[in-house]
């Protein structure tokens, strides 16, 4: 089956593609939604302009679609983007990295159902510590690019998701209910390398912007 992947450049959408490929599916395009609203309800925003380099590393064509990021209206933009992918690449289904968000998952399910295509959410309801361990075991190199929940601060930006990260996030999960996979928007991630990349990416420059308890790291990669 020919699939399109909703792709933010973060760990979840990338690992979902990995699972699809491991199961023998062909991923013919990546669909990235560039939201002008940094607090989009549906889409991750940090470092999304870098997805072009990730798409090149993956060797999968990238379809970029812009949205103003207004609640519910951005769903229309997503539908347009999926329709474009269906027409351009003949996709028969969509893969997402949704884990817990029923808001996100149910809306994508409705769009796919209306367009008569399959919807795959291979990380759905996955234990988030298990996901972190899977990423490490499968040699995904992932860094934190945004932190937005106390007690996470700017010092977490750029941290790699490794065994040390799990050791540090576990007590915060127990004490502050920080979701270890950032599913509640606590943090966002960027994949620098994984087994599907032809060449890994390196961080060349970073720019950190902090507003109140919201910290973001824009990265230049090469």
């Amino acid at each position: 089956m020919n699939l399109g992947a909703l792709f933010s450049g973060g760990k979840d959408s990338t690992f979902a593609i990995y699972l699809a490929k491991e199961c023998g599916y062909h991923v013919s395009c990546l669909i990235s939604i560039i939201s002008k609203n940094p607090y989009s309800y549906m889409f991750h925003t940090p470092s999304i302009s870098k997805v072009e380099q990730q798409a090149t590393a993956l060797g999968i064509p990238l379809l970029v679609h812009e949205t103003k990021g207004e609640k519910e209206k951005e769903l229309l933009d997503l539908e347009v983007a999926i329709k474009r992918a269906k027409a351009q690449y003949g996709i028969e289904g969509i893969i997402t990295g949704a884990i817990e968000s029923t808001y996100q998952a149910s809306r994508i399910q409705k769009i796919c159902n209306a367009l008569d295509i399959e919807c795959f959410n291979p990380l759905w309801q996955k234990d988030q510590f298990e996901l972190l361990e899977d990423l490490i075991q499968n040699k995904f190199e992932v860094v934190i690019t945004a932190a937005a929940a106390y007690p996470l601060d700017a010092s977490w930006l750029g941290k790699k998701m490794d065994l040390e990260f799990i050791r540090q996030i576990k007590p915060l999960h127990e004490k502050y209910k920080i979701n270890p996979a950032g599913e509640g928007g606590e943090f966002e991630t960027f994949v620098l390398d994984c087994p599907m990349f032809k060449n890994g990416l390196k961080i060349l420059n970073t720019r950190i912007v902090s507003i109140d308890n919201n910290h973001r790291m824009e990265v230049t990669v090469g």
Partner: protein, 182 residues
């Protein structure tokens, strides 16, 4: 041992519709074995203490063309829980009528006492079809809405739920297992 039945045609759907059920059983300390519905043998059924038939995606409905693969449901005397697609198959095997109605996302549903469900609960729906259990005398409906959400055979331990308990009613799975002393 609990037999978990995978009804997904698409291999990738295992992660979304079967693994979450396995995780609930594993975290509950319960032993299970998962088999695709096309590969279930009489021995698999005889070895199982109870059976959970998982759901699948909105468009992954190849199982409707292979009703005969589920014929064991008709004569079984073991506890069976059918989730969404599994509920459809239980209903079809007992002569129920498949009707079209799409529900996706959280819905508030009202229940009479059913595997730990009481009164109103938000349940996660993902279906394009349902079985009209209201007209099936062998089954009792435990939900109050227009579409049967929770049913049980009047004489057998055959349960069906239309919603996906792996999202917000994980304890329902364990209640099914503990009710049957597993």
């Amino acid at each position: 041992m609990i037999l978990v039945v995978n009804v997904c045609f698409e291999k990738l759907h295992y992660f979304e519709f079967v693994k979450p059920i396995e995780d609930i059983l594993r975290n509950g300390g319960l032993e299970y074995s998962t088999i695709h519905y096309t590969q279930i043998s009489e021995k698999d059924i005889s070895l199982a203490d109870s059976i959970i038939i998982c759901g699948t995606s909105l468009r992954d409905d190849d199982f409707f063309n292979k009703t005969e693969e589920f014929s064991w449901i008709k004569n079984i005397n073991k506890p069976v829980l059918g989730i969404c697609a599994g509920m459809h198959m239980i209903g079809l095997l007992f002569g129920g009528e498949l009707k079209r109605d799409t529900e996706i996302g959280f819905y508030e549903e009202s229940f009479r006492s059913f595997l730990g469900l009481e009164d109103s609960e938000q349940v996660y729906h993902l279906h394009n079809n349902y079985i009209d259990f209201f007209h099936m005398k062998e089954f009792e409906v435990f939900s109050k809405g227009r579409i049967p959400q929770a049913v049980k055979h009047r004489d057998k331990e055959l349960y069906g739920i239309l919603f996906h308990p792996e999202v917000r009613q994980k304890s329902l799975i364990l209640n099914f297992c503990s009710k049957n002393n597993l």
